[in-house]
Amino acid sequence: MSEHSPLAFEGAWALSPAPESSESAHIADHYGLFINGEFVDAEDGGRFDTLNPATESTLASVSHAGQADVHKAVQAARNAYDSVWSKMPSRERGKYLFRLARAIAERAREFAVIESMDGGKPIRESRDIDIPLASAHFFYHAGWADKLSYAVSGGTPRALGVAAQIIPWNFPLLMAAWKIAPALACGNTVVLKPAETTPLTALKLAELCQDIDLPPGVVNIVTGAGDTGAALAEVQGIDKLAFTGSTQVGKSLMRALAGRSVRYTLELGGKAANVVFDDAAIDQAVEGIVNGIFFNQGHVCCAGSRLLVQESIAEQLLERLQARMASLIVGDPLDKNTDVGAINSRNQLTRIEDYIDIGKTEGATLWDAGQTLPETGLFCRPTLLCDVAQSHRVVREEIFGPVLTVQTFRTFDEAHAKANNTRFGLSGGVWTDKGSKVFDMTRRMRAGVVWANTFNKFDPSAPFGGFHESGIGREGGLHGLRAYLSEARA
């Protein structure tokens, strides 16, 4: 037993590395575009590499779709819509979605590992949240396919046609499921563009579409960067655009749709307030704050990135929060004990570090627990920016990283005024033991999702989406279906 460290019956107990095996992850050297049920190379042969952000090594090369490829994919979706999907009995359509739900569940571990390798998120999250939820989204929407007349009041629902869908890199497979499942359930066909830094699980999903014999062209996946997304928004022949990503890109897409009869839903950025009152269940609030901002490295549009704490408990809350942050394990995304994984890309890491610098310049007091970061790869410690005010950029702008600003308030009115003092309106959090205060604050918060005494909860049946510059429309649940159905009445 000499290879072991000396026995210790006191003091700190270190957790040994617990890496998830990557053997189950079958990643090809190259993935083409998934058009009309087949993987094909881009017309101009364009390719790009997708990296593992924890090591910055290449995982695979992926085709880069240009305008011609996007056009081809939309044509394939149109043909599939006209010839197969719109004619299929809705119950049969639903069964394909059930199959997809099951297929994801069957290969859940492989998907989780690839998700963590391609995107940097901790395996605990991809394993326990992303992949199961993606499967659940297909399962939930599968059941809607033959019940759509109950989803609209007083009309006969009809599909829109071809849906163009552009998704971000923070929840690659889950966002693909959020987009594809309702679209297909409502009878649309889709062309989906994954983010350029995280294309792999969407392409693996394309393999599943083949495995379950989904008719060719019902789901098409075009990989590429912003230019591919722009081409998809601009191409003629789409009936609907669904986008999740930054507010800036969302606005440009809305402009691209101007004057065209293309329906759209946009899920954009956020800067959510997480409001903690002095009567809150303080230890659960601390956990909720941590879960609110450090979940998925803070790469979450609905992250609780602004902590607003009642002044009378600010000190004790911060003490507990810092103690909790010190217990967060930052490192290898594939280690089962990692709480905070790798930052998705070098660009994003630079952006986060820039914001931390801006915070310092603006006079913020910086705090982190000083975790040792891996020597290679893209990592950022969970960070607090204290002594900030509403006028600071770090309070106003979305950082999209593990950085929490900390402000205090004195009264209820001050709390909701500060909470709503933002361009965004995606989510909010409130912590109090008093029921009437919960209802009043959740009603006053101008945000599409409000978590009271909890945070960052998601469910296929729960509508999600933003007010103001956090987006237009809802996804998920009953209300999400309406975004993929025609309003035309019988």
């Binding site: 659940a136 009041s153 007083g154 507010t247 969302g250 606005k251 440009s252 809305m254 402009r255 749709l257 101007a258 004057g259 946009l266 954009l268 919960v438 959740t442 945000a447 599409g448 999702v449 409000v450 978590w451 009271a452 005494n453 909890t454 909860k457 469910d459 049946s461 729960a462 509508p463 999600f464 989406g465 007010f467 103001h468 510059e469 956090s470 987006g471 237009i472 809802r474 649940g477 009953l478 209300h479 309003e487 009445r489």
Partner: protein
């Protein structure tokens, strides 16, 4: 032989924040009958009038959206009463805008009925649009509609009282506050409606009426950062393009009513309410 009497002409003004100001610009539109006779000078609202209306609408929003549904229904019904009791005035104005007497009477009656229809929606749409979401965790999760906020409605070119009511009623019954941009060719009815609103119990600023030119006011309405939504039914392709391009800067909601909805009462009253609501999903743990 009766003595000749000079009629007292009415000054057609804007309706902002519960008051009837003249346009700050001093500009006017000389409104002529279909046969080309001068009828009246009508205020030609400017961008500053729009700004003032937005300020009034924003100020009225928190009170109006917090007013209970029963009260909002009562007030909608009160508007219907006021319009009904002013039938003659509305018919006169509609005729001066070019309608036949029969058409005008029919239009007013339908408008009253449509207001009553929406009065009845006030305490029902929320139940229909809401949902309790059966989430797979120990939480109680529900989704309810909330008013989108300050809305500008573009009154239809086709005119008529019904056209105005079809954008006004679903907007304010849903707790939004409103600025109507009346059609330049049909300004008289809109001012009469403003007067009826004033005589109802509609709180100041909840509904504001601007007469003026669509080509001047639409670009202001879609670029104004503090207007949450634009409601329209008959934008031209060019207007629609402009609206989306400008509105994109602040993600303005721009729902369109189907043209059928501004012509006659139909079965889509709920859709018109729903398109000006934001859905809010709330989660709370459910356990002792």
């Amino acid at each position: 032989m009766s003595e000749q009497r000079l009629a007292v002409a009415k000054t057609y003004k804007l309706f902002i924040g519960g008051k009837f100001p003249r346009t700050e610009s001093g500009r006017y539109i000389a409104f002529e009958s279909s046969t080309g006779e001068f009828v009246a000078n009508v205020s030609r609202a400017s961008r500053k009038d729009l700004r003032n209306a937005v300020v009034a609408a924003r100020a009225a929003l928190s009170g109006w959206c917090a007013a209970n549904a029963y009260l909002r229904g009562q007030i909608l019904y009160r508007i219907a009463e006021m319009v009904e009791s002013r039938q003659a005035q509305f018919v006169d104005e509609l005729m001066r805008e070019g309608m036949t007497r029969d058409a005008a009477q029919y239009d007013v009656q339908r408008s009253v009925d449509w207001l009553v229809h929406y009065a009845g929606w006030s305490d029902k749409y929320m139940q229909i649009l809401s949902a309790v979401n059966p989430v797979a965790s120990q939480h109680f999760c529900f989704t309810v509609p909330e008013p989108v906020g300050v809305v500008t409605a573009i009154a239809p070119r086709s005119g008529g009282l019904f056209g105005l009511v079809s954008v006004l009623a679903p907007t304010i019954v849903g707790g939004n506050t409103l600025i109507v941009i009346a059609d330049a060719a049909h300004p008289l009815t809109s001012v009469a409606l403003a007067e009826a609103l004033h005589a109802s119990d509609v709180p100041a600023g909840v509904a504001n009426m601007l007469t003026g030119r669509r080509d001047e006011l639409l670009p202001q309405a879609v670029s104004h950062d503090d207007i949450d939504a634009l409601l329209s039914a008959d934008l031209t392709d060019d207007e629609w393009q402009l609206a989306q391009e400008q509105g994109a800067d602040h993600l303005q909601r721009q729902p369109q009513l189907p043209t059928s909805a501004i012509r006659a009462p139909g079965d889509d009253g709920l859709e018109a309410i729903a398109c000006l609501q934001e859905m809010k999903t709330t989660w709370h743990p459910a356990a002792q």
